[in-house]
């Protein structure tokens, strides 16, 4: 039997807006069952990539398959992908309850019990108009709408951006929990490395429209080390980023090498990309 197709598979995926290239020759493959963190600075192309995944926009060139078909291929495919857009748009004049009703009308796979439970847990009043919700409550409503479709893939574009640090921590913990509960794959973008380090087990670092590094968090952590002097890097190891007192190398275990926290690892690649925009892409 063939293994199930990857959740996301992109080959030379490119998106240009006029002359501006938002995403360039992006190759990416994400297996099922992970919480994938997509990190990068503002303007790195994170939203572009996620909107391509949801079929909100079409690629300029290259191919992208989501759960084995083109993005937003048909109604059945739409039902399998839940999307929480940046700034978590909701209908300001509709109440929370009416949003849930919309979900049940527009999604055959709607799980009304799950939706009601999540709304209660988040402390939302069903009679409240969505326009009067706080940023955090709106994010909860948007996440509930995406979750109650019971999707195989949940895509979240900066879902925690509008939240204060405490609410953000709670939101991300809840997110990780319910992704496990759904048995789904989640892709979540953030410009905050800390958010991602907290919940993700698969990392994609995006900068200047290119994938800088991608892989399971455990593998990445095992493959990267911090050493004091780039000159002591062993043969076969690649220096990702070197600055006084902080050198990150990728390669076989190094004597005297210390483990690199995930945040620092991502930062090393972002720093490299910022200094050498044409740097070779590592996978």
């Amino acid at each position: 039997m063939n293994p199930p197709p990857p959740v996301l598979h992109a080959e030379r995926l490119t998106k240009r807006y006029g002359r501006r290239t938002a995403l360039a020759d992006c190759d990416l493959s994400v297996p099922r069952g992970h919480v994938v963190g997509l990190v990068g600075p503002n303007g790195a192309g994170k939203s572009t990539l996620l909107q391509l995944v949801c079929g909100l926009i079409a690629p300029t060139s290259g191919t992208l398959s989501v759960l084995g078909s083109p993005p937003a291929a048909d109604a059945a495919h739409l039902a399998r992908v839940g999307f929480v857009a940046q700034d978590t748009p909701v209908y300001a004049s509709l109440t929370v309850a009416e949003h849930l009703r919309m979900g049940s009308w527009l999604n055959p796979s709607w799980d009304a019990a799950l939706a009601r439970r999540r709304i209660t847990e988040a402390g939302l009043d069903p009679r409240q108009r969505a326009g009067r919700l706080s940023g955090g409550q709106r994010a909860q409503l948007a996440l509930t709408l995406a979750a109650a479709k019971r999707p195989d893939l949940v895509v979240l574009d900066e879902p925690a951006a509008a939240l204060d640090p405490l609410a953000r921590r709670d939101f991300l913990r809840g997110l990780a929990g319910f992704v496990r509960e759904l048995g789904a794959t989640a892709v979540l973008s953030s410009h905050l490395l800390g958010d991602v380090a907290q919940v993700c087990d698969h990392l994609v670092v995006l900068c200047a429209g290119r994938v800088q590094v991608a892989g399971p968090v455990a593998d990445l952590l095992a493959a990267h080390h911090r050493i004091d002097d780039p000159a002591t890097a062993p043969a076969g190891a690649e220096v990702v980023w070197a600055e006084p007192g902080r050198v990150v190398v990728r390669g076989p275990a190094v004597r005297g090498g210390a483990p690199v926290p995930l945040e620092e690892l991502a930062l090393a690649y972002l720093s490299r990309a910022a200094h050498r925009p044409s740097a070779a892409v590592t996978r």
Binding site: Y17, Q51, C54, L56, I57, A58, A72, D74, A75, A76, L78, A79, V81, G82, F83, A85, D87, P89, V90, Y91, A92, S93, L94, E98, R101, M102, G103, W105, L106, N107, P108, S109, A142, L145, A146, K149
Partner: protein, 323 residues
């Protein structure tokens, strides 16, 4: 999707129902007043102005529907970002647009149909007496044609909103375009739906005096406002001499400015006598009144067809929309 469309459409629909009820009550009253006039022969004189005024106001209904119901339909979603929410429900975008257009289009057709039915009923005795419901202005405020205008305007509004992505500019543009279409269709398209009948009218002094106006602003030999009984006159040729050529501006000008004095009465006095002596004629093109209903259906089909094409364009644009 239909239920959700109805829910989103609740407020605009409510506003529409209130205005429709007010207009309906007014038209019922007008119909009662018209029927209370004992002598039908006096109706045209008494109500001609009212009917023109109502038809003019009626012409704004599609423009209002297009601007207030059509333009916000998609543009509002794009403006508030809710398209990113609703397009990720399990309803493909093309179907989403089709259902939205179908539901609101039906509502627009209903509004226009009810208004037209009320006005057609209220005006029926006047129309019977005057026999002019085929005329350029009144035609668009009778029968089934207004349904076509309304559906066309609504779809135009929605698609314009989709292309412009901003509600207010779309509303303004749609209003202007629909009003322009309401002027262009009767004057440029409608006369040609079926080949017109033609007749040559000798321009005796008497015939000249029946015209409404004489001479163009540049002094050209034209007459305006000639009638053919039981028909809608769509074209009047310039004054022609017996050999079929157009009367020269000089000859026309001579009669117009400095005709021999005969003491004749009539609208154009000595000028009419002077022209009448030249053995002139005009060629008229007209559509007989029995074509009123064929023309109504053609006009309806034309507008529904245009609406359908616009809807296809909208779906196509939505599918390959970027950003």
């Amino acid at each position: 999707m239909i239920r959700f469309t109805l829910r989103q459409f609740r407020l605009p629909a409510l506003a529409g129902v209130v205005l429709l009820a007010l207009a309906g009550a007014g038209l019922l009253r007008l119909g009662a007043d018209v029927r209370a006039v004992p002598d039908p022969a006096r109706l045209p004189d008494r109500y001609a102005q009212t009917m023109l005024f109502l038809a003019g106001g009626f012409a704004l209904v599609p423009a209002l529907l297009g601007a207030f119901w059509g333009a916000p339909l998609v543009a509002r979603e794009l403006e508030t970002g809710t398209h990113r929410l609703v397009w990720n429900q399990s309803v493909p975008r093309g179907r989403w647009l089709t259902v939205k257009l179908a539901v609101t289009g039906l509502a627009a057709a209903l509004v226009a149909g009810l208004l037209s039915a009320a006005l057609t009923w209220a005006a029926a005795p006047v129309d019977r007496a005057a026999g002019d419901r085929f005329s350029t202005v009144l035609f668009g405020a009778r029968g089934v044609a207004p349904i076509g205008y309304a559906v066309f305007a609504l779809v135009l509004g929605a698609v314009t909103g989709l292309l412009l992505r901003r509600t207010l500019p779309a509303m303004a543009l749609v209003f202007l375009v629909v009003v322009a279409a309401q002027l262009a269709v009767p004057n440029l398209l409608r006369p040609h739906y079926l080949p017109p009948e033609r007749v040559t009218v000798p321009m005796t002094a008497e015939a000249v005096n029946r015209a409404r106006n004489l001479g163009s602003i540049t002094g050209g030999p034209v007459v305006g406002g000639l009638d053919v009984p039981g028909a809608w006159v769509t074209d009047i040729s310039p004054l022609r001499t017996a050999d079929g050529r157009q009367l020269s501006d000089a000859a026309f000008g001579a009669c117009f400015r400095d005709p021999p004095r005969t003491g004749a009465t009539g609208t154009f006095g000595d000028t009419a006598v002077c022209l009448g002596a030249l053995d002139l004629h005009v060629d008229l093109a007209y559509q007989p009144n029995r074509r009123f209903w064929p023309f109504q259906w053609i006009e309806l089909a034309l507008h529904l067809g245009a609406a359908g094409l616009l809807a296809v364009l909208g779906r196509w644009r939505l599918r390959r929309r970027a950003g």
